[in-house]
């Protein structure tokens, strides 16, 4: 595959989208649909989580089935922070990213010595181990998870209102997407993309492949941790479900729907999947059937993801 290049219309499009999102909460209030602010926040958070997986899978070529471990770990760190009196997100979020990143470092340092199916299996195994570890630890609330006493503050600003949390999530996503866009077009991004395409050749060009892969994996884990910490604030609970392998699967489906290796693939995937879910739930309890059919249609008609439908835009 060619290297990622920002598409020509990407910047104005993203700025327009950002402006639209800025006026979304007041608009929803005005329409009396404030309920949807929480839903929109959820989309932003999953967009962030899916994008972190897209960094690992789409750009780094590492098919990890254990990404939920980092996502969930971030949520638990947020809950533990609240329990221990750290209620400022400026401290708690970096802490969540650090812990998730360290976990990714341990998992990656071992898993990245394997390839292909073995890599998928070993990341899954690590995620399941993390899950059972968290469920069996009484301090972490066992099966019930850890509830948060309330929402955090962001440098003195309370996140209690849905609007404030929406804007924090939007800010985080915008920062992360900017970072990922720069990264993909920079030396590191080229390196991991080339490793994805031909690992042996990169080794023969003198690149320490393992190191670059590991750093990519750790970055992805840390960003997933940030998403987890945000989600814990939204739902008020660090639930063991977040660590489940099905959660890893959901993130994978988002990335695949959106477009593996497209910068905005994770964002588009999260938007499409969560909206589909929301709409289908209104029709039937068996909404998974409808979702499954939709997924088959997307894979058949847009095998490289929705992002690929926008021509070669990489957008």
């Amino acid at each position: 595959m060619a290297f990622y290049r920002p598409a020509r219309y990407q910047k104005p499009f993203v700025i327009l989208l950002l402006l639209a999102l800025l006026v979304l909460p007041p608009a929803l209030y005005a329409w009396g649909q404030a309920f949807y602010i929480g839903f929109a926040t959820r989309i932003l958070i999953f967009a962030l989580a899916a994008s972190s997986l897209n960094l690992v899978l789409g750009f780094g070529g590492m098919f990890s089935l254990g990404h939920a471990a980092f996502f969930g770990a971030g949520a638990y760190v947020a809950a533990l922070c609240m329990d221990n009196g750290i209620s400022d997100a400026l401290l708690a979020f970096p802490l969540a990213m650090t812990v998730a990143g360290l976990l990714a470092l341990v998992v990656g340092a071992i898993s990245l010595r394997t390839r292909g199916v073995y890599f998928i299996m070993i990341t899954l195994a690590f995620a399941q181990m993390t899950y059972y570890l968290f469920v069996s630890a009484r301090v972490l609330g066992g099966d019930d998870g850890l509830p948060l006493a309330g929402r955090m503050t962001l440098g003195g600003l309370s996140l209690t209102s849905d609007g404030a949390l929406f804007y924090s999530a939007l800010g985080c996503l915008a920062l992360v997407m900017t970072f990922l866009g720069r990264l993909a077009d920079g030396r590191f991004g080229r390196t991991i993309q080339a490793i994805r395409d031909n690992e042996a050749r990169m080794e023969a060009l003198g690149y320490p492949v393992f190191r670059y892969r590991l750093v990519c994996f750790v970055l992805g884990g840390a960003l997933a941790g940030l998403a987890g910490a945000l989600l814990a604030n939204l739902t008020g609970l660090a639930s063991p479900n977040l660590l489940q392998w099905t959660q890893s699967g959901t993130l994978l489906v988002m990335v695949i729907i959106g477009g593996v290796g497209y910068l905005y693939g994770g964002v588009i995937g999260a938007l499409v999947l969560l909206c589909l879910e929301e709409v289908l739930v209104g029709f039937t309890l068996h909404w998974h059937i409808g979702l499954g059919l939709m997924l088959i249609a997307i894979v058949l008609f847009a095998p490289r993801g929705v992002a690929a439908l926008f021509g070669k835009s990489n957008g």
């Binding site: 077009d185 920079g186 080229r190 080339a194 031909n198 060009l205």
Partner: protein, 251 residues
């Protein structure tokens, strides 16, 4: 005699019940073109894999530029000044010629590493300027923007060489650079290798005997994983063991 640039001693490797390499000693002097020849399956490519670090030997050692590199990984050996080309073309088919070579320049130790997350590569003009220099050297200037997958076979071989050169090697390991090229292309490749040899030491694996005898300062002959002869081209050509191994071949 000056110390050899590459000194391989007692290199042995077994694959299941087959001795792929058995007690192979080869030394390559700085500045020479050393050709490694032998019938199909003699272990030539396996030998290159062991020298470049893609495979680890069961026994024996590889010294490069006075340093034991036997246990170093491939990327460490490249950083130490060894570059290789592949028998089967191995370039990034989705990337342009320029991006392929720029990637090789970027990977060099003196390029400053690739843990850079913010600055667009397109702003680092020197990477591309330098890449163009190597592309010039192999005669691909007219194809700079072409996607590697759209190049003719011979051009891909040349690109492969440009990428190896971009790592600024002291030693080039060329695994059948003439493989699959036409008469005209291989004539150009011979001239190119001859030209490169002024700046860099070359270990050449090749089946094209005309090319080997035109280029090589010394020749080593590998048969069934064993080294049966090494020396000046004329001496090797006259060697009875070599003639027996190549029975019927046009040596």
């Amino acid at each position: 005699m000056a110390e050899a640039l590459l000194e391989v001693r007692g290199l042995s490797r077994r694959f299941a019940a087959v001795d792929a390499l058995k007690e192979v000693d080869i030394s390559v002097d700085a500045g020479e073109i050393h050709a490694l020849i032998g019938p199909n399956g003699a272990g030539k490519t396996t030998f290159i894999h062991h020298v470049s670090g893609a495979l680890q030997p069961d026994r024996g050692s590889v010294h490069f530029a006075g340093r034991d590199v036997t246990r170093l990984s491939m990327h460490q050996r490249v950083a130490a000044g060894m570059a290789r080309s592949y028998q089967i073309t191995n370039v990034f088919l989705g990337l342009s010629v320029l991006d392929n070579v720029a990637l090789a320049v970027q990977g060099r130790p003196d390029a400053g590493g690739s843990f850079r997350f913010w600055k667009p590569v397109s702003s680092e003009q020197w990477l591309f300027d330098e890449a163009r220099g190597y592309i010039d050297q192999v005669g691909l200037s007219a194809r700079v923007e072409t996607v590697a997958g759209n190049l003719a076979h011979g051009e891909q071989r040349a690109l492969e060489l440009a990428m190896a050169l971009a790592t600024k090697p002291q030693l080039l390991l060329l695994d059948e650079p003439m493989a699959g090229t036409g008469q005209e292309e291989s004539t150009r490749m011979v001239e190119l290798i001859d030209h490169l040899a002024r700046h860099v030491t070359i270990l050449l694996v090749e089946h094209d005997m005309d090319a080997v005898f035109r280029l090589a300062d010394r020749i080593s002959v590998l048969v069934d994983g064993r080294l049966i002869a090494t020396g000046a081209p004329e001496a090797v050509r006259a060697d009875p063991d070599v003639r027996r191994a190549y029975l019927g071949d046009h040596l």
